[in-house]
Amino acid sequence: MEIVSRPHGRNLVKWAADKPDVLVLSADLTGSCEADGFRDAYPRRFISCGIAEQNMLSVAGGLCREGFIPLVHTFAVFICRRAFDQVAMSVAYPNLPVKMFGFLPGITTPGGATHQAIDDVALMRSLPNMTVLETGDATEVESVLDLAYSIDGPVYVRMLRGDVPRLFPTDEPIRADHPRILSLGDEVTVFSSGICTEEVLRASAVLKARGVSITHVHISTLKPFASGLIDQAIRAGSRGIVTVENHLVDGGLGTAVASRCASTGVGRPLVRLGLQDTWSHGAGRAALMREHGFDAMALVNAVQDLIGANLSISLADLGAVRVEPVHSVAKAEAL
């Protein structure tokens, strides 16, 4: 699997070159959010806001009123928790094209509870007019700017930084409300988003080798959540459905899928993996995913429960899986 170093940092500079209406706003986390290259390349279009996120979000709204497209860069917690009223009233209500890039989603940081955005998707999905995206690999990180820019309204993006794996081919960019169907099967359907998709690929490779028929859907648009492919995937899982998210299970992907299950009238068991109504703490990503039960082994256990079988899958089996880029097999009629 290819690991791409700082895909956003490099892409942002190239992408913004021919877009004079694009500004970057930063709250003292410029290098940490890979906006330092933009700052150095286009100093006039880089707006330093200091550690003052409430002001930054309302300023972003004001800049839109004069025709600019502000790309707000900071850690997700500071957009969604500290400046929520400003996001709601200065940005979301007036439907302004502020693009918010929230870094360190979920437990991707060892920074502990203050830095872990485990509730950001719930908060942002609750706001009318808001589009909520989550990147899961380098291809999505590199293509999310085009998508966010094309949406006439506010967009919140859960962003990845640093060394990011490439799971999806570069010619399959992130698309609005377009799930990626990564595998097709008729027993269990798994929905995953963000960093969880790599874990699911690891687990599903072993599960499929043991004969379990799995539909795996990668979600990168958490709002709107209206694609017909979602309903078809829900129907495909005859034994049940599992959601895997780097977030509280209430208010995020698990809740969105539950809502769609209810709407479609499909009465299937739904297992939601993620943070179960709990705060987390400072530790490594792999350890926290294991502790909170949304890593590859947690998915194996959930699938085994749904199908009522013990497949004797070990950690060593999962560790031996080599995750390679996957082409989407999305075809509505193929489901």
């Binding site: 500004l23 006039r44 279009r45 707006i47 330093s48 806001c49 200091g50 003052a52 409430q54 002001n55 979000l57 309302s58 300023v59 972003a60 709204g61 004001g62 800049l63 839109c64 009123r65 004069e66 025709g67 600019f68 009223d85 400003q86 009233m89 200065s90 209500y93 007036p94 439907n95 009318p128 007019n129 006439d152 309204g153």
Partner: protein
């Protein structure tokens, strides 16, 4: 003409005060002290200070046409009451939207809104909302959550600097907003980015919802605090149009400019003084009390011609 614009502005302020009193009597309550304190300030802004456009004729307020959202092509802000948005003209941001009633009265008295607009105040389905939203007459942004007006205006001012647009951003604030942490974030931002193309007028009436500002949470010395953040602050008599005009017209020097208009929340309506320190919203507790205010309205002196 003897007196010139200063007389015109004083008369405009007097008409605004009277109109808000009339409205408060008609509706058994209203934001009266805000009119008493800010009448000269807002009249100076609209009558003299701001370079804004004028609608062709008094506009009949639109009904509420839904929220801004994809597909709502009917939606528009209330900026057209200020002549629309143009790079070469000023933009006006009313931050404390409990002053909306005062603004509406002013829009009527300046020929920007039809007099019938006042009848739609706080009616179901009307855009003439009690706490004005951005679709309300004379409004452009959402400012009812206090503290957000200044930062949105700062974003506009920065955008105008980047574009080279000559129009200023004129903001009216209330003194209570200086209790909000975000306000100081914004002043620091405005100073850091040299936003000298915005002028902020503050109605320092010393009043807020719970009572006197000094009893709720002290903000003085407000001028010293503002200056210490790198902005300019002028303290003026908020009932003196010439003083307001002079302070707001200082040549830009790289720093944002605040004009602190020291005002009397009972100016022109002495009867209200007995309500102090609860002046935020005028209610009539007895028919006799209401009759007293009615008598003041009936005896309102005829001023000007």
């Amino acid at each position: 003409m003897a007196g010139g614009w200063k007389v015109d502005v004083a008369l405009l302020a007097d008409r605004v005060r009277r109109a808000v009193l009339e409205h408060t009597l008609d509706n058994d309550g209203g934001y009266m002290s805000q009119a008493c304190s800010s009448a000269e300030l807002l009249a100076t802004l609209y009558g003299r200070f701001m370079n804004i456009g004028m609608p062709d004729r008094p506009i009949e307020p639109r009904p509420w046409l839904g929220t801004p959202r994809h597909g709502n092509t009917e939606y528009r802000t209330g900026a057209d009451f200020n002549g629309g948005v143009h790079d070469a003209r000023d933009r006006f941001i009313l931050s404390p939207t409990h002053y909306s009633l005062v603004l509406y009265a002013l829009l009527v008295e300046t020929g920007r809104m039809s007099p019938q607009g006042m009848k739609q105040f706080n009616r179901d389905g009307s855009s003439v909302e009690m706490i004005g939203a951005e679709h309300s007459p004379g409004m452009e942004v959402m400012t009812g959550s206090l503290g957000q007006g200044l930062a949105q205006a700062a974003g506009m001012a920065l955008g105008r600097k980047l574009k080279g647009a000559s129009g200023r951003v004129v903001v009216m604030m209330s003194d209570g907003e200086f209790q909000i942490g975000m306000t100081w974030e914004s002043i620091q931002f405005m100073a850091h980015h040299h936003l000298d193309n915005m002028v902020v007028f503050v109605d320092v009436n010393g009043q807020q919802c719970d009572g006197a500002v000094d009893s709720v949470m002290r903000i003085d010395p407000i001028d010293v605090r503002i200056r210490s953040f790198g902005a300019r602050a002028a303290v003026v008599d908020g009932h003196d149009p010439a003083a307001i005009m002079k302070a707001g017209s200082r040549a830009p020097d790289g720093r944002p400019l605040f004009v602190l208009a020291m005002t009397d929340p009972c100016r022109g309506l002495d009867l209200m003084r007995k309500n102090a320190p609860k002046l935020h919203y005028l209610r009539f507790r007895t028919p006799q009390e209401k009759a007293g205010y009615k008598a003041v309205l009936d005896a309102w002196p005829k001023r000007g011609s």
